[in-house]
C-alpha cells in the first residue's frame, strides 16, 4: 500500500514540473512580481516527493517484501534503525533521497531569494527543474524504488553488513545536502549569466549557499572517512580510493569557489572564474555520481552494475555540461569592470594563489581517478593509481600552500605590505627548530619532512596568534584555517609516528616486539539479533608496565551471509590503538593486525573545527570576512 502511494506520488511530482515550467515561462514576461502559483507548485512537488520517500521508508519498516527494493536490501531480523537507514543504503532509495533534497532546496531557495530580481529567480527555478526532471525520469525509468514483486517473498535478502553502521546511516544524507546544494549554485550561476545578474549582490546572496553546501560536503566526507576507519578495518582514514576522490574533487572546487566568491562580493572581478567554478562544482558532483553508480569503477559504493543507468547519467551529465558551456559562451560578457588592478601583494593575490593551488590539487586527483579509465579504454592496459602517486604530487606543493595560507589573510585588499615581520620571523624559526627536533628522532627523510612540518607549524602558530590579535574579527575564517593547520599536523604526525604489526596468532600465543608484547588470551562467542560475534581478547603489555585489553570482533551476519571484521579501537588524546582480527582459512590461526596511530582523534576534531568555522560565518555576519 505504502509502495503504491509512493509510486503514484512520484509520477504526480513529475507531472507538477510541467505546471511549474509553464507558469514560469509565462511569468517571465508578464508582471514585475513572482507569480505565487509557482511557489505553491514547487512546494506541492516537494510534498509529493516527501510522500514518496515516506512511502518507501514505511515499506522498509513494515518489511513489505512485495517491494523489490525492500526485498533486495532488508530483512525482518534487522534492527529498526537499519531498516530505516536501509532506505537510502541502496541505489534506488538513495536516488529518491537525492530528488528529495533537490526539491527541498529549490523550495528554500525561492523563499530565501525574495530580495533578488524576479527573472533571475525564475531562471534558477527553470534550470533546477531541468535537473529535477532528469532525476525524476532516471528514477522512474531505470531505477524505480517501487517495483512490485509477485508472489511476495517471505524474507528479504538483507542489507550489506558493512552498511549497518550508525555513521553510514547519516553519511549519505549529509553528503547529498552538500552535493545537491551545489546544484543550486549551478542553476543560479546559469540564471545570473542569462539575466546579467552577476554582481556583488549575487555573490553575497549565493555565498550562503556555497557555505552551506561546503559545510555539509565537508561533514559528509568526514563521516565517510570515520566509517572507513573503524568499519573497513584498513587502518587509515583516507585511501585515495576512486570513490573517495570523487567526493574530494567537488570539495576542492567548492573550497576554491568559497574563496573566489569573497573577492567577488567585495569588488566585481573574477566573475568568469566564479562562473566556471560554480559549473565545475556541480559537474564534478554529477560525474561522481556517474563514476560510482555506473559500475565503471569498482568500490564499496557500487550498488549496481547496470550500463543502462550509467548511460542515462552520462547523457544527462553531458547535456548539462554542454548547456552550461553554451550559456557561458553566449551570455557571459566576461568583461570585468576596471577594478581589475591590484598590487601583487594583496588579499586578492593571496586568494588567487589559494585558487591556483586548489586547482592543482584538483587536477592531480582528477587525473589519478580518470586516467586509468581512459587508459583502459584506449589501450586495454589496467593500471591502478595509489597513495604514492598522490603523496608525491601533493605533498611538496603543500609547503608553499601552507605558508601562503599563513600570510594571506593578514594582507589588505588592493595593496598591502608585509605586516608583523618580526612575529613571522620568530614563528618561522620556532617552527623550524621544533620540527627539526621532532624529525631527527626518526629514521626518515630529514629535509622534506622537516620543511613540511615547519610550514604546518608556521600556519598553526600564525593562526593561533590571530585569535588573540584580531579577537572576533574574521573569527570563522580563522577557526577554519586553524583547523586546517591542525589537520595537516595531525596527518603528518599520524604518518610519521605510526606503528604496525601484522602477524598470525593462535589462542594462547604471544608476539613480542621491542616495545610491546601481544598476548592472545581467548575467544568468546555472542549471539546478536542479526549476527553472531566471535570476540578475541588480546592483552597488550608495554615496556613501561602499562597494558591494554583489546577486543576485535568477527561478525558472521545471517542475512546476507557475510563475515565482517570489527576493529577494536582504544582512543585517547594522543594515540589510537587499533586492532583487527581475521580468519585464516581452515586453520586455527587468526590474522592479527595491530596499529598504533598517533593523533587520530585530532584529524576528526580538526575537520570538525573547519566545518564549525564555516558554519559560524553562516549564522553570524559579524564573524565574516
Amino acid at each position: 500500500m505504502a509502495s503504491l502511494i509512493g509510486s503514484y506520488s512520484l509520477s504526480f511530482g513529475l507531472f507538477f514540473s510541467v505546471f511549474i515550467i509553464f507558469f514560469s515561462v509565462r511569468n517571465l514576461r508578464d508582471t514585475k512580481i513572482l507569480d505565487k502559483k509557482i511557489i505553491s507548485f514547487t512546494f506541492t512537488q516537494f510534498f509529493f516527493v516527501v510522500t514518496s520517500f515516506f512511502g518507501l521508508i514505511i515499506s522498509f519498516i513494515n518489511s513489505d517484501f512485495s517491494n523489490e527494493t525492500v526485498f533486495n536490501h532488508s530483512h525482518t531480523t534487522k534492527p529498526l534503525f537499519y531498516k530505516i537507514s536501509g532506505t537510502w543504503g541502496n541505489h534506488e532509495g538513495s536516488l529518491l533521497l537525492w530528488l528529495l533534497v533537490l526539491t527541498l532546496f529549490i523550495s528554500i531557495f525561492l523563499i530565501k531569494s525574495s530580495q533578488q530580481p524576479k527573472n533571475y529567480r525564475i531562471f534558477t527555478l527553470l534550470f533546477q527543474q531541468i535537473i529535477i526532471i532528469g532525476f525524476f525520469i532516471f528514477l522512474i525509468k531505470t531505477s524505480s524504488p517501487f517495483n512490485y514483486l509477485f508472489p511476495t517473498p517471505n524474507e528479504g535478502l538483507g542489507l550489506n553488513p558493512i552498511l549497518q553502521d550508525p555513521a553510514l546511516a547519516i553519511h549519505p544524507p549529509i553528503l547529498y545536502l552538500g552535493y545537491v546544494g551545489s546544484s543550486i549554485i549551478f542553476s543560479s550561476a546559469l540564471a545570473a549569466m542569462v539575466t546579467s545578474h552577476v554582481s556583488k549582490e549575487w555573490a553575497k546572496h549565493i555565498k550562503q549557499w556555497v557555505l552551506a553546501s561546503w559545510v555539509f560536503l565537508t561533514l559528509g566526507i568526514l563521516l565517510g572517512s570515520i566509517w572507513a576507519y573503524y568499519e573497513l578495518g584498513w587502518g587509515g582514514f583516507w585511501f585515495w580510493d576512486p570513490v573517495e576522490n570523487v567526493s574530494l574533487m567537488p570539495w576542492f572546487a567548492l573550497t576554491t569557489l568559497l574563496h573566489c566568491i569573497i573577492v567577488l562580493e567585495k569588488k566585481k572581478i573574477l566573475t568568469s572564474w566564479a562562473m566556471i567554478l560554480s559549473i565545475a562544482t556541480f559537474a564534478l558532483s554529477m560525474s561522481g555520481t556517474f563514476l560510482v553508480r555506473s559500475g565503471i569503477l569498482n568500490s564499496v559504493h557500487t550498488f549496481a552494475n547496470d550500463p543502462e543507468r550509467g548511460l542515462f547519467i552520462l547523457i544527462f551529465l553531458f547535456t548539462l555540461i554542454f548547456l552550461s558551456i553554451f550559456i557561458f559562451i553566449f551570455f557571459h560578457s566576461g568583461k570585468d569592470k576596471k577594478e581589475n588592478n591590484f598590487f601583487w601583494l594583496s588579499k586578492e593575490t593571496s586568494i588567487l594563489v589559494n585558487n591556483w593551488f586548489m586547482m592543482y590539487f584538483l587536477s592531480v586527483v582528477l587525473i589519478g581517478t580518470i586516467y586509468p579509465i581512459f587508459l583502459e579504454v584506449i589501450t586495454t592496459n589496467k593500471i591502478s593509481v595509489g597513495p604514492p602517486f598522490y603523496n608525491k604530487l601533493i605533498l611538496p606543493f603543500l609547503i608553499p600552500f601552507l605558508i601562503a595560507m599563513a600570510i594571506g589573510p593578514n594582507l589588505n585588499w588592493v595593496k598591502s605590505d608585509f605586516k608583523d615581520k618580526f612575529y613571522m620571523m620568530i614563528f618561522f624559526t620556532i617552527s623550524f627548530l621544533l620540527s627539526a627536533l621532532i624529525i631527527k628522532q626518526f629514521d626518515i627523510n630529514f629535509l622534506v619532512n622537516t620543511i613540511l612540518v615547519t610550514s604546518a607549524f608556521f600556519l598553526f602558530f600564525s593562526t593561533l596568534r590571530e585569535f588573540f590579535v584580531k579577537r572576533f574579527k574574521n573569527l570563522s575564517q580563522n577557526i577554519a584555517h586553524f583547523g586546517f593547520s591542525l589537520l595537516i599536523l595531525s596527518i603528518l604526525f599520524n604518518n610519521i609516528f605510526s606503528n604496525e604489526v601484522i602477524t598470525n596468532l593462535k589462542i594462547g600465543e604471544t608476539f613480542k616486539t621491542e616495545k610491546f608484547t601481544i598476548n592472545f588470551e581467548n575467544i568468546d562467542q555472542e549471539d546478536e539479533k542479526n549476527f553472531k560475534a566471535i570476540i578475541g581478547k588480546f592483552n597488550i603489555q608495554y615496556l613501561d608496565g602499562s597494558s591494554d585489553i583489546l577486543n576485535p570482533e568477527l561478525r558472521i551476519y545471517n542475512q546476507p551471509n557475510i563475515i565482517t571484521s570489527e576493529a577494536d579501537i582504544k582512543t585517547n588524546l594522543f594515540t589510537d590503538k587499533f586492532m583487527t582480527m581475521n580468519y585464516v582459512q581452515n586453520q586455527e590461526y587468526f590474522n592479527i593486525r595491530y596499529q598504533v596511530k598517533p593523533f587520530m582523534i585530532w584529524i576528526w576534531i580538526s575537520v570538525l573545527l573547519i566545518t564549525f568555522g564555516g558554519s559560524l560565518s553562516f549564522f553570524n555576519k559579524r564573524y565574516e570576512i
Binding site: 556517474f290 555506473s294 559500475g295 565503471i296 569503477l297 569498482n298 552494475n305 550500463p307 550509467g310 548511460l311 552520462l314 553531458f318 555540461i321 554542454f322 558551456i325 559562451i329 566576461g334 579509465i373 581512459f374 583502459e376 579504454v377 584506449i378 589496467k382
Partner: protein, 172 residues
C-alpha cells in the same frame, strides 16, 4: 575569434570524454588475469588415474604436438557443462587431451566418465591438489593449451563454444 577557438576546443574535449566514458561503460570491470602466456609447463610426478604407475610430466608433453590439459573433478558441476565441448575436441586429431583429476575419488570419477564419455587420452590424478597449485590453477575447471612445452593460453572456468572455436583456430 580567440574565445570561439577556445570554446571549440572545450567542446571537443568534452565530446571525447563522453565517448571514452561511453566506451568504458561497455567494458566489464571484472578483473581477469592475463590468459595469453608463454610459460614453460611446470613439471609434476603423478600417479596415473587407472593404475598406480607414476607419470612424469616431461614424458607427456612432446615438442611438436598440441596438448590440452584440463583440470576436472566429478564433484564439480561446471565440469559437466564443459564436458560436451571436450568430447568435441577429442575428435580433433591434432590435439591430445590430458585430464588432471583434482581432489577426487576413483569410484565417482570413473562413473562420471562412464556416464558422460571419456574425452581424455591420458588421465593423471592429483589427490591432494598440489600439482594444480603448481600450475597456478584458480579452481576447477581450468584448462591449459600447451605447445612445445609452453602454455600458450589458459582458460579459467568451463570452456564454452567460443573457446572451442578459438582452440581449433590456434592449432590449425
Amino acid at each position: 575569434m580567440k574565445s570561439k577557438f577556445i570554446s571549440l576546443i572545450l567542446i571537443l574535449i568534452f565530446i571525447i570524454t563522453f565517448l571514452i566514458f561511453y566506451k568504458g561503460l561497455k567494458n566489464s570491470n571484472i578483473y581477469t588475469p592475463n590468459t595469453n602466456l608463454e610459460k614453460e609447463v611446470p613439471s609434476f610426478e603423478l600417479k596415473s588415474f587407472e593404475n598406480d604407475s607414476i607419470i612424469i610430466s616431461e614424458k607427456i608433453f612432446e615438442n611438436n604436438n598440441y596438448y590440452f590439459m584440463n583440470i576436472w573433478a566429478s564433484w564439480c558441476i561446471p565440469c559437466k557443462v564443459e564436458h560436451e565441448f571436450l568430447m568435441k575436441l577429442k575428435n580433433n586429431e591434432k590435439i591430445k587431451l590430458i585430464g588432471l583429476n583434482y581432489k577426487d575419488n576413483f569410484k565417482n570419477a570413473s562413473s562420471f566418465l562412464n556416464d558422460l564419455g571419456n574425452p581424455y587420452d591420458l588421465i593423471v590424478s592429483d589427490r591432494d591438489g598440489t600439482a594444480s597449485i603448481e600450475w597456478g590453477a584458480y579452481g576447477v575447471p581450468e584448462s591449459f593449451l600447451i605447445f612445445q612445452s609452453k602454455i600458450i593460453k589458459r582458460f579459467i572456468g568451463p570452456i564454452k563454444n567460443e573457446d572451442l572455436l578459438e582452440i581449433q583456430k590456434l592449432i590449425r
